[in-house]
């Protein structure tokens, strides 16, 4: 690992953003341009995602939320412009701080109209390869194939008891309070991730990890979420969906989120009615991805700690 000077970090980020913009300018995947857009950071709604905590800010005599992702605002925009677009922005998540997490971070998010999951995965890989400036090996997995390969289980049908046994065998977690989905997540991050090399695509997630992805069936007839992630070595770089466009189902998922939050003892949030209204008018058939840009910079510069690519890491701001 190289030690970087402040100037090298500044220059690398400038080059990264230039590469991203030129990727979308030169992109011949579509007839029309991919528009660069800017969205507000302070939204009137926070995310209901049970695993994400938004920063709440008071101003103009009302509560606003620093956006944990530009997703809701970009989708409302998509309903209006019906054209592929991208934005480079800041995102904020409270209580996420560590070697590869900073509570304030940079994000690239883009949407491609008429792209399905396969198309958006290839698009994402092409962009990442171009940004890294080198060819990395690409390993394509499904959530199932990855767990079969490393733990010899089918994550879609496995019993919680068996998962608890694996957790005890392979990790240092000793309590008995994991749900099936939490146990799978723990095994993924502590057993499987350390073995990943180059770029790894993981697709077709269990339905309870769908977030905002469309549901469908895989080649074995299993109901899965059309969601994918791309890892560089052991670090998650990208998360994307073949987007859910059904407003009613979206409302049910938000309500479910709030129920989970309540069970976890977290505050519930107002559902983003503006997003649902826009979706009722019709979100175009599309896929979207977000990439953590600080992490992409870490991958490009071969750094292990997010602080090395930030000019002002969280504790020093």
């Amino acid at each position: 690992m190289k030690d970087l000077s402040l100037r090298q970090v500044i220059a690398a980020r400038v080059e990264l953003y230039r590469t991203i913009r030129s990727y979308f300018e030169e992109s011949d995947l579509e007839e029309s341009d991919v528009l660069e857009v800017e969205i507000p950071l302070l939204g009137h709604a926070g995310t209901t995602d049970p695993q994400i905590n938004s920063f709440e800010v008071t101003g103009q005599n009302e509560a606003r939320y620093l956006q944990s992702s530009p997703e809701f605002l970009l989708k409302r925009l998509l309903v209006e412009i019906r054209q592929s677009c991208f934005c480079i922005t800041k995102a904020f998540r409270d209580e996420e701080h560590g070697r590869i997490h900073n509570p304030e971070f940079s994000m690239l998010e883009w949407y491609r109209v008429d792209f399905d999951l396969d198309a958006i995965i290839e698009d994402s890989l092409a962009l990442i390869q171009k940004c890294l400036g080198r060819r990395e090996s690409v390993c394509r997995e499904t959530y199932r194939s990855l767990f079969q390969k490393h733990l010899n289980i089918d994550p879609h049908g496995v019993e919680l008891e068996h998962l608890q046994l694996l957790v005890e065998q392979h990790t240092s977690y000793r309590e008995q309070c994991l749900s099936t989905s939490e146990a799978l997540q723990l095994l993924l991050s502590m057993v499987i991730e350390p073995k990943l090399k180059g770029l790894t695509v993981i697709r077709d997630f269990p339905l309870d990890q769908a977030a905002l992805a469309k549901a469908g069936t895989d080649e074995l007839g299993q109901e899965v979420a059309f969601r994918f992630e791309i890892y560089f070595e052991q670090m998650e770089l990208a998360n994307g969906y073949y987007e859910l466009v059904d407003a009613l189902e979206q409302r049910q998922r938000f309500e479910q989120d709030n129920q989970v939050r309540q069970k976890m003892g977290r505050s519930t949030l107002q559902i983003d009615e503006s997003l649902l209204q826009a979706m009722e008018r019709g979100l175009p058939d599309c896929s979207g991805v977000s990439i953590g840009l600080d992490r992409l910079l870490m991958a490009k510069l071969e750094q292990r700690n997010i602080d090395s690519v930030l000019l002002f890491p969280w504790p020093k701001v």
């Binding site: 995602d49 695993q51 994400i52 209580e95 996420e96 701080h97 560590g98 070697r99 997490h101 990790t171 240092s172 977690y173 000793r174 309590e175 309070c177 994991l178 989905s181 939490e182 997540q185 723990l186 993924l188 991050s189 502590m190 991730e193 990890q209 977030a211 992630e229 998650e236 998360n239 976890m264 003892g265």
Partner: protein
């Protein structure tokens, strides 16, 4: 009973784990994708010195350990216990052989040590970094060899054996680094 939640974890924090007092050495934040966050923690068992790894789900909490470091003066030993006194309160504590451990060979009466107390009882003892002790036994000095910097073993008043320069004799006082067990210099009387 005080507890610490995962978001309060940081190195140095003293907690109870499986009935033993531990200090957090390192806390790694682990969060897969959009999923559940975990804290992967490395801990040092303060009784045995062994390091453990344990993982907690974010939001889980563990019991705090009542562990404090106090500067205390070493008084005496009866061979089974070692007595220490707080110079401000005159409060006395006795430490057993497990607590004193390796420190015993550096303990000189009146010296001030750091005694780690768990529930008010000594858990471990840290001697001063530098101590001055008498040589009680060593081979007679071989004159003329000093230039080559040769050394010989010498037994000190506390029972510790250190390598000292050849010219030193029984009755000399030497300054020793307790962390490395190395001779530093001849003490000025």
């Amino acid at each position: 009973m005080a507890t610490y939640s995962t978001n309060e974890f940081k190195s140095g924090l003293k907690v109870m784990l499986d009935g033993d007092p531990c200090a957090i050495v390192e806390n790694e934040f682990v969060k897969p994708g959009k999923g559940q966050a975990f804290s992967r923690v490395r801990l040092k068992n303060l009784k045995t010195g062994r390091q453990w790894e344990r993982t907690f789900k974010s939001g889980e909490s563990i019991e705090a350990a009542d562990v404090v470091d106090v500067e205390m003066q070493y008084l005496y030993t009866d061979g089974e216990f070692w007595a220490f006194m707080d110079p401000d309160t005159f409060d006395q504590k006795s430490a057993d052989a497990n607590a004193v451990a390796e420190a015993r060979q550096w303990l000189r009466e009146q010296d001030v040590c750091v005694v780690t107390l768990w529930n008010d009882a000594p858990l471990s003892v840290l001697p001063p970094n530098h101590v001055e002790l008498d040589i009680v036994d060593t081979d007679p000095g071989l004159r003329g060899d000093t230039a080559q910097g040769g050394t010989k073993p010498a037994t000190l008043s506390t029972g510790a054996v250190v390598k000292v320069p050849l010219f030193l004799e029984i009755g000399d006082v030497v300054k020793v680094d307790t962390r490395s067990g190395e001779y530093l210099s001849r003490a000025k009387d």
